[in-house]
Assembly symmetry: C2
Homo-oligomer: 514 residues x 2
C-alpha cells in the first residue's frame, strides 16, 4: 500500500485492493482445479464445472469492473503520476493490461470461443482415439477462426506487429514472433549437428536399466527425498507444498500453498523422478517470490517461458547433470534396495541423458525437445498469418518432423493431434517451452560467473544455495519486467541462443565422447 | 425453473438464478474448508483465512443484493402469487428468510460479532489448556452481549417469542424454546431411570476388548467396508464421496460431492468405526436429496436436528443394534485377523453399548448423551433470558452435571469449556443434537410399521433398503417443511419423546437384563 493520502495514493490503494480480490479469487479457482485432478469424487464432475464456471464469471466481472477503468484513468492522468515508484507503476501497468484485454474483446466473442474450445477439446480426444484428423478438423477450423478474430482485436489493443504476436503476448509479454523466429532459427541450426553427433556416436547409452521395476511406495520415497534435496518442503510444520499423483504432472498454487503432482509408472521410475524435479522447479519460483509483493500484480512469475526456465533448470541443468548424480545415485541405490545395485554412475547418467529423435514432444530428451517446439511455433505463426490452413496441418507437420527430426509420423494421433493445446485454443503457448531453455542457457552462464564453485555444489547435492541464488537473481524480480528486459537485468546481456547451445555441446560431447 | 413467461415467472426464475449463485459459492467455500482440514500445507493458514474471508464477503454481498429484495417484493405482491406451487413458494420463503436475516442486522454488529468470535475461540483454546475459566470469561461476556443484541433484532424480524428462540431458529427453524423445554423435561425424566437401571445392573459390559490394538491400515479397511454396507460410495467409477482423516470427524459437501472424515486411534478402533457410520449418515441425507431440486433453496436438509437424526440413525439405531452386529461381527473378525477372535456377539454388542454417565459430551453413550445436551440448552436459554450470567456458568454447569448425571466436574476444562460452540458464538445449536434423537425415535417407529421385517434386514446387513426408505420418507422432502411439520408429514403424528424412550427401554432392558 502507498502511504500517501492524496488522491493518487487513495486511487492507487483502491486499485490494488480490487486487484487483490481478483488474485484471491484466482487462487481459490486454482484450489478447485487442483482438487478436481487429485481428490474429487468422480461423480462431482458436473458440479465442479458449474463451480469453476461461476468462479471464472466472477473473476471476469471483478477484472472488468468499470470502477477499475475509472481508477486507471485517474491514476494515469494524475499530475503526480511520476511520483509513483517503479513497482507501483508496474502494478498499474499490469492491471491496465489485463483490464484492456478483458474489456476490449466483445463478450459474445469470448463466450463463443470458450464454448467452441470446450467442444473442440472433446472432439480432439475422440479424434485422437480414432486416429482420424477429419473428425477434429472442422472444430479446429472454427476455433482458429474465433481466435483469429480475437487476435485481430488484441493486436490493435496491444499494438503488436501481427495478430499471432498478440496471442503470444498472453504467455510471453512483449515478445514478438519476429524475435522468436530469429532465435528459433539459430537454435535449430545449432541443435541439428548436436543431435547428429549423439545419434551417430560409437556407443549408445543403455536405457534398459530405467525400466527396472520399482514399487510405487519406493518411488514415493524417492519423490520425498528429491523434494528435500531441492528445497521443496512437504514435511516440516511450516511446509508450503505437497505431492499427489495425477495422470499428468502439474504445479498449482500461490506463495504459501504451492502443490505439485507426479505420475508413477512401475516400470519407468525416471518419469516420476524427473517430473518431481520439474514441478518442484515451477513451485520454487512461486515460493521464492517477494513476500511484500503478495497479492500485488507484480507478485507473480514473469512469463510462461520464465516459469519453464525454472522447472527445466531443476529438472535438466541440475537434475540430469553428472555432478548431481555423483551425489544422488548412492542415495537412489539405498532407497531402491537391490534393484539398482551394480549400476555405474556413468551408465546411469548416460541413460537419463539419452538423445533420440522421436515423434512425441512430452517424451523428448533435453536436446531434441526444442525442435518439437519450433515445429509447433512455425506452424502456428504461419497459420495465423494465413500462409497455411487448418487443412494443411497434417502435411506440414509430417514434413517438418521428417526434415527437423528425421522421423516418419505414421498417423495424426502421434502427429499434430498429440498435444491438447490447440484443442483448448492455447495458441501462442508452445514457443514459451523453448524460450525457457534459451533463458536457462543464459541464467546458467551467469550463475557460473557469479558462483564459480557451482559444479562442486551440484556434486554435494547443495541445491539450496543455487535455489537462493535463483531467488535473488531471478525469482525476486517477480513480474516487474517483461521477459526480454528481465533477461537483460539478470545477465546484463541481450537474449541469446549461444549459451544454451554451449551448455548442450559441453555436456553431450562429454557424455557421448564426440 | 418455472415455465411461465409472465412477470411473476420471470421474477421467480431470476430469484432462483441468484440463489443458485449463492449456493454454488457456498459449495466452493465448503471445499476450501474441507481442504483446510485435510490436505492444506500448514504454511497456507493465513492465505486460506483470507480466501475464506473473501468468499464469505462475496456470499454476503450476493445474498443481500438489493435486486433480491426487489424481486421478493414483486413476487410477494404479485396478483398471481397463489399460482406458484408449494415448492416454488417454499423457495421464495427460504430466500426471503435468509435475505431478511442478513439485511436486518446492522453490518457493524455482524462484523464486530465475527471479530469477537475469532478472539473468543482462540482465548477459549488457551483458557481450556490452562484450565482457567477466568481467562475466557470476559471474551465470552462480550460475545454473549453481541449475540444478545443480534437476537433482539432477529426476534422482531422472525417474530419469535424470545431472543434465544431467534438464535435456535437458525439451526432448527420455527422450533420454540418453550416446545424444546417441554420435550427435554420429558426426555430427562425418562432417561434418568434407564440410566439408573443400566448402571446398577448386576453385570457390567466388559469394555476392555475395545482397546485392543488395531493397526491404522486395518482400521481404514474397516471404514471402507462399513461405507459399502451403508451405501456411502467411495470406490465405484461414479462414487460421490471419500474418507479422509482429520482431528475431528466431519461431513462436508453438496449432492454429488459429499466427503466425510474420521480419526483413527490405534487403541480405540470403535471411535473411527462409529464416526464413519455417523458421518456416512450425514452424507446419506445430502446424497439422497431430490436431483431436480439441486441448486434450489429447497434442495437442502431440513434442519440441524434432522441432519443429526440421520447421522445417529446410521450410527446408533442401525450401527449399534444387536441385529447389525450379528451380521457384521464375522466380517470385522475377518478384517482384523486374530485380534478379535474369541469375542462373542453378546459381549461385543454390550461393549459398544455401555452406559456410563461421564463428564464429556462427545464421549457419551447413546443413553446419557441427551442429558449433556439438555444441560447446555437449559443454560443457554436461561443465559439469554437474563436469568443467569456468564459469571454463573461454572456453578450452574457443575451443579447440573451432579444433579442430572451424578458426576463431579473437577475443573472447567472438563466442564463448561469442553465444547468449542460457545467460543464460536454458536448459541442455539446444542438443542438440535437431542432433537435429532427424538426425531429418530419417531422415524424408527414409523419404519417398523411400514417395514415389518426391518430387524431381519438389519441382521442381513441390508441397510440399502433402509436407506431407500429413509430417502423416500425423509430425505426427499429436502427443506420443503420446517422440522415440526416434516415430522408430522413423515409420521402422521406430532413431535413426541415417547418413541425414543421406548426404543431405549426395549434395547437396554434386553442388553442389561433389567
Amino acid at each position: 500500500m502507498v502511504a500517501r493520502t492524496d488522491e493518487l495514493g487513495r486511487d492507487y490503494n483502491k486499485l490494488l485492493q480490487k486487484s487483490k480480490e481478483t488474485i484471491l479469487l484466482m487462487s481459490i479457482n486454482g484450489l478447485a482445479e487442483w482438487d478436481m485432478e487429485t481428490k474429487m469424487p468422480p461423480k462431482a464432475v458436473n458440479l465442479r464445472s458449474q463451480q469453476l464456471g461461476m468462479l471464472s464469471q466472477l473473476e471476469h466481472k471483478m477484472s472488468t469492473d468499470p470502477e477499475i477503468g475509472e481508477l486507471l484513468d485517474r491514476i494515469l492522468r494524475s499530475t503526480n503520476y511520476e511520483d509513483l515508484s517503479q513497482v507501483e507503476k508496474r502494478n498499474v501497468h499490469l492491471v491496465k493490461k489485463r483490464y484492456d484485454e478483458m474489456t476490449k474483446l466483445p463478450e459474445e466473442l469470448v463466450v463463443s470461443t470458450a464454448k467452441q474450445a470446450a467442444i473442440a477439446v472433446n472432439v480432439w480426444k475422440a479424434a485422437k482415439a480414432a486416429k482420424d484428423y477429419s473428425i477434429f478438423k472442422p472444430q479446429l477450423e472454427k476455433l482458429v477462426e474465433l481466435k483469429s478474430k480475437a487476435a485481430e482485436i488484441l493486436m490493435t489493443v496491444k499494438g503488436t506487429a501481427t495478430p499471432y504476436d498478440a496471442l503470444v503476448d498472453y504467455y510471453e509479454p512483449s515478445t514478438s514472433s519476429e524475435t522468436i523466429s530469429k532465435l528459433f532459427d539459430e537454435l535449430r541450426s545449432g541443435l541439428i549437428p548436436i543431435i547428429k553427433k549423439c545419434v551417430t556416436a560409437p556407443t549408445r547409452p543403455d536405457e534398459s536399466l530405467l525400466s527396472r521395476t520399482i514399487p510405487f511406495d519406493t518411488q514415493q520415497k524417492i519423490s520425498d527425498s528429491l523434494a528435500k534435496v531441492v528445497g521443496y518442503d512437504i514435511e516440516s510444520p511450516s511446509a508450503g507444498g505437497r505431492i499427489d499423483e495425477t495422470e499428468h504432472p502439474f504445479t498449482n498454487g500461490y506463495y504459501d500453498d504451492v502443490r505439485i503432482t507426479t505420475h508413477y509408472y512401475e516400470n519407468n521410475f525416471a518419469s516420476s523422478l524427473f517430473s518431481v524435479l520439474h514441478e518442484a522447479g515451477h513451485a520454487m519460483y512461486e515460493q521464492n517470490l517477494r513476500r511484500d509483493w503478495m497479492f500485488q500484480p507484480v507478485g507473480n512469475g514473469c512469463s510462461s517461458g520464465f516459469h519453464e526456465s525454472q522447472s527445466r533448470f531443476v529438472e535438466n541443468i541440475f537434475g540430469r547433470s553428472p555432478e548431481f548424480w555423483s551425489y544422488y545415485l548412492p542415495e537412489l541405490r539405498r532407497l531402491t534396495g537391490s534393484i539398482l545395485s551394480g549400476v555405474g554412475l556413468n551408465d546411469f547418467v548416460r541413460a537419463v541423458n539419452v538423445v533420440r529423435p522421436s515423434k512425441i514432444r512430452v517424451d523428448a530428451d533435453e536436446v531434441t525437445y526444442c525442435l518439437h517446439v519450433i515445429i509447433r511455433f512455425n506452424i502456428e505463426r504461419d497459420l495465423f498469418a494465413g500462409k497455411i490452413s487448418v487443412a494443411d496441418l497434417p502435411e506440414v507437420w509430417n514434413e517438418k518432423y521428417m526434415k527437423y527430426l528425421d522421423v516418419k509420423v505414421e498417423n495424426d494421433s502421434e502427429g499434430l493431434m498429440q498435444d491438447t493445446h490447440w484443442g483448448l485454443g492455447y495458441f501462442g503457448y508452445f514457443p514459451t517451452y523453448a524460450l525457457g531453455n534459451i533463458y536457462d542457457g543464459q541464467i546458467l552462464a551467469t550463475l557460473k560467473k557469479q558462483m564459480p564453485d557451482w559444479s562442486e555444489r551440484f556434486a554435494r547435492g547443495d541445491f539450496l544455495s543455487i535455489r537462493q541464488w535463483l531467488g535473488e537473481n531471478v525469482h525476486s524480480y517477480g513480474d516487474l519486467y517483461d521477459p526480454m528486459d528481465l533477461m537483460k537485468k539478470i545477465t546484463g546481456e541481450e537474449i541469446a541462443v549461444k549459451p544454451f547451445l554451449d551448455y548442450l555441446n559441453d555436456k553431450y560431447s562429454n557424455l557421448y565422447g564426440y
